[in-house]
Amino acid sequence: VAYLCFYSVQLSNMLAAIIMLIFICFCVHFQNTAGQFFSSGHTNNWAVLVCTSRFWFNYRHVANTLSVYRSVKRLGIPDSHIVLMLADDMACNHRNPKPATVFSHRNMELNVYGDDVEVDYRGYEVTVENFLRVLTGRLPPSTPRSKRLLSDDRSNILIYLTGHGGNGFLKFQDSEEISNVELADAFEQMWQKRRYNELLFIIDTCQGASMYERFYSPNIMALASSQVGEDSLSHQPDLAIGVHLMDRYTFYLLEFLEDIHPASKSNMNDLFKVCPKSQCVSTPGHRTDLFLRDPGSVLITDFFGSVRKVEITMEAIHLTDPILQLEDGEEVQEKTYSYVDQLPVSEIIHQKPKQKDWHPPDGFILGLWTLILLVFFKTYGIKHLKHIF
């Protein structure tokens, strides 16, 4: 009996040990899958680049946006996945001494406008309402595809805003503002509608850090060019064009991005180091507490580049026979067509007036006729009624 007890205890110990081992294996497996789950699981990339300033002296904001557009296109995001909003036209502005160009460097070294640019929202279309509608996807049904942000829950979105701003707001076109609360709510709407996987928000305005203070949705990483109470400064003027060409933060961001290529492994920690106080005069800030992954493991190309999953297959694909188009029977046309007279003078002169749609008589006309009838019957008595009806 003692032996049995001893064996049973040993067995139960072994069983417990085995169970523990299996459990540990499972844990490790889960950790691996969890790791995979939280690693970048995006399948497509989108970018929303907005310049909110109007007028020629805000040339630098358009140059900022176009330089980010250029980097994003170079690293692989196609035009169909970029929503570019420019509040004013600088390239073909009549004050531009070199039309169809927007320069970012002095002495006209780099033309960020280029030859192959597609602006989706331009001029008066860049309003707070349109920006929020693009983000949340609540656009009128007739909006064309190039003006929509058709992202899904596996999309990484880069949002870049630049313009004039203050503590808690960003000015749109000198006539309206968007507040940080509105922006945070828009991002929360996007999260609840599953419109993004991860979101990188970059803002280059005065007191930019105030714009990301109110975010509360998960998976958002934010960068700003200056803290609350600081101004973002512009970089350098060009004497031939006569205006400041770029803002400091975006200028150094562009220089940093020029070194990135689609296969590079730089991560977000390098991006946070862009433009230290010595170069920028303002202190750039960032916010990563809402982001689930470690910023050191997030690649720059996760947001600025485009994912292309290529599946290589060795099997041969058999093409079906081409679809045969049956020709319709030749209908012999007896009618001869002809062009129309462009200015048929006699026809125009004798044109019948258009048939107007019949409307029931207006209230005024009805009242007038009632009054006339009343007066008539008052004067001449009711017995004349039988002559009328």
Binding site: S142, D341, L343
Partner: protein, 580 residues
């Protein structure tokens, strides 16, 4: 590719043959032509006009949709079939065409964006189709065409007759809108170039570089879609897509003051090949003013010459055929050079017979007067013109002040169509058929009053002003040379755009300048100022009054000083009366 011949079934319903005959499919009947016309202007500037035409024999309106596109761009084909469009004309222009200095353009266009569309008879709700069409086109061309709505759309009753084949014209299916404020830049040129079969990689489109094209006095890109006759009998129609680009390079800004033009100087590129998909690819240089090469010389020389009657004048052109390898010579590239020999004056330019101007007169921000001036420069012939004016609702026209005077005397139009505006809903439409006497100036004036808009309706930069679209003047101008009415002869593209019905006159459309009108603009900082002022007034004025009325006064003993306190304390102990 093969196709199966339809089974032949005779009257008894029995199959004639049970075998299938396999024959090659007829090739898709589409054709692409490109051409460039270069015309030196008398002011030293140079006018270049590109035309790209795709002809396709297909039926967009049939039930099973067209799915195989070859030369015709798919985006436009889908637009035509989805919105049942019969004709579509859209143009984007930067600059104003100076008729008196440059003559008549091959294809006129007003500054800004202009869109006019004829819908098929089967469309039930034309306004809804128009609204959706403008949104789709704004996505295709990256332009703000979605600002076209009922406040700037009109339905002309006699102008803008269809330029293509049609059964009957019911103007209920026509819509016309113009956006004079629309900016044209590379972002409009990029999608336009992508519609071409060869894109901008081969053929004449290689020359279209935006940095040179937008540094010009005039730039215009257009797209015209219409059904045309296929052959002389005109029993079948095919769809024609024309993309044209007109540009005028200024002598001083692009030419550096030197009167010498070459393809490289104008476009910063040379030509190396024709578009492989084009059936014809030609360059025409207008040498009518230079018959014996006394004013300018053309190099490389070309033996091909062609004559064409265009805009009422017989012009001679030197032709370069890019489909021939010999055109490119040994260097395999073509850089045309036109060099002027001396700076002496030349024979005078043929004065344009019809010319128009428009301006706003008056002072202040309450009222004004619009003057449209039309010049008939023909020495002895008079001809009728159709004037179309579309004025936005915020300029309230007083039509009882409308006057039309020629040579100082009243000139009654033989046809007037006026549709009054409705605030915030539709603009004014005024169409008049006016007979212009020979060698005269006709002036149309109408007074207006400026409306005060609601504060939300102002643009972010209201002090710039508000634009009024150009007037359109359509006319059949008598021609000194017999026009060619044979529609199917091999004509260069630039002379075959407007259909010609009679030999003695040609159709021309002239656009006036757009107007820039200041509306009474409020000071938008006033709400803030008013709040500050009101709060100050309320605080100071009312607050003081309230205090005066409700404050009551009480006498209070002042607090005694320390010495007095001690003295009083001692006196109290002593039982002696206290100090006051």
């Amino acid at each position: 590719t093969f196709y199966i011949e339809p089974l032949k079934i005779n009257k008894l319903g029995v199959r004639a043959s049970d075998t299938f005959v396999l024959t090659p499919t007829p090739q898709p009947k589409d054709d692409f032509q490109e051409e460039l016309v270069i015309r030196p202007l008398h002011s030293g500037d140079i006018y270049a006009s590109f035309q790209f035409r795709t002809l396709w024999e297909t039926d967009f309106m049939r039930e099973n949709k067209v799915s195989h596109y070859r030369l015709f761009p798919k985006s436009l084909g889908q637009v035509i079939s989805k919105f049942s469009v019969r004709e579509l004309h859209i143009s984007f222009t930067q600059g104003y065409w100076r008729t008196m200095q440059w003559g008549q353009p091959f294809l006129p266009s007003p500054p800004g964006a202009e869109l006019w569309v004829w819908f098929q008879d089967s469309v039930t709700d034309v306004d809804a189709a128009w609204k959706e069409l403008t949104n789709v086109l704004s996505g295709i061309f990256c332009a703000s065409l979605n600002f076209i709505d009922s406040t700037n759309t009109v339905q002309p009753s006699a102008s803008f007759k269809p330029l293509g084949i049609v059964n009957e014209t019911d103007h209920r299916f026509l819509r016309y809108a113009t956006l004079p404020r629309e900016i044209v830049c590379t972002e409009n040129l990029t999608p336009w170039k992508k519609l071409l079969p060869c894109g901008s990689k081969a053929g004449l489109a290689v020359l279209l570089k935006s940095e040179k094209l937008f540094h010009s006095s005039f730039f215009s890109q257009t797209v015209h879609i219409r059904p045309v006759c296929q052959d002389r009998e005109c029993k079948t129609t095919s769809w024609e897509l024309r993309q044209t680009l007109n540009v005028v390079f200024d002598l001083h800004t692009s030419g550096q003051g030197k009167r010498e033009w070459s393809l490289f100087k104008m476009f910063s590129r040379t030509l190396t090949e024709a578009c492989p998909l084009a059936s014809s690819s030609k360059i025409y240089i207008d040498v009518t003013d230079n018959p014996q090469e006394e004013y300018f010389e053309l190099s490389p020389a070309t033996p091909l010459l062609s004559q064409a009657v265009v805009l009422g004048d017989r012009r001679t052109f030197s032709v370069y055929d890019l489909t021939q390898q010999v055109t490119f010579g040994t260097v395999r590239s073509l850089n045309l050079l036109i060099r002027w020999k001396s700076t002496e004056g030349e024979c005078s330019m043929l004065r344009p017979l019809l010319h128009a101007e428009r301006y706003v007169a008056g002072y202040g921000l309450q009222t004004g007067e619009i003057h449209t001036v039309m010049y008939n420069n023909h020495p002895f012939r008079s001809f009728p013109v159709l004037l179309l004016d579309s004025v936005p609702w915020y300029l309230r026209l007083y039509i009882h002040t409308l006057t039309v005077t020629s040579k100082g005397k009243d000139n009654t139009p033989s046809y007037i169509h006026y549709q009054p505006s409705k605030d915030r809903m539709r603009p004014h439409l005024l169409e008049m058929l006016v007979q212009l006497p020979p060698h005269s100036v006709t002036e149309v004036t109408v007074q207006f009053e400026r409306a005060l808009l609601k504060w939300t309706e102002y643009t972010p930069d209201p002090n710039h002003g508000f634009y009024v679209g150009s007037s359109v003047i359509s006319a059949l101008v008598p021609s000194s040379v017999a026009m060619d009415t044979n529609i199917t002869q091999e004509q260069p593209l630039f002379s075959s755009f407007f259909p010609c019905k009679e030999e003695s006159s040609y159709f021309v459309r002239v656009y006036t300048e757009p107007l820039l009108v200041n509306l009474p603009t409020p000071d938008f900082s006033m709400p803030y100022n008013v709040i500050c002022l009101t709060c100050t007034v309320v605080a100071v004025g009312y607050g003081s009054l309230y205090n005066l009325l409700t404050r009551s006064f009480q006498i209070e003993e002042p607090n005694p000083r320390l010495a007095k306190k001690i003295a009083n304390f001692i006196r109290r102990i002593r039982g002696v009366p206290l100090l006051s």
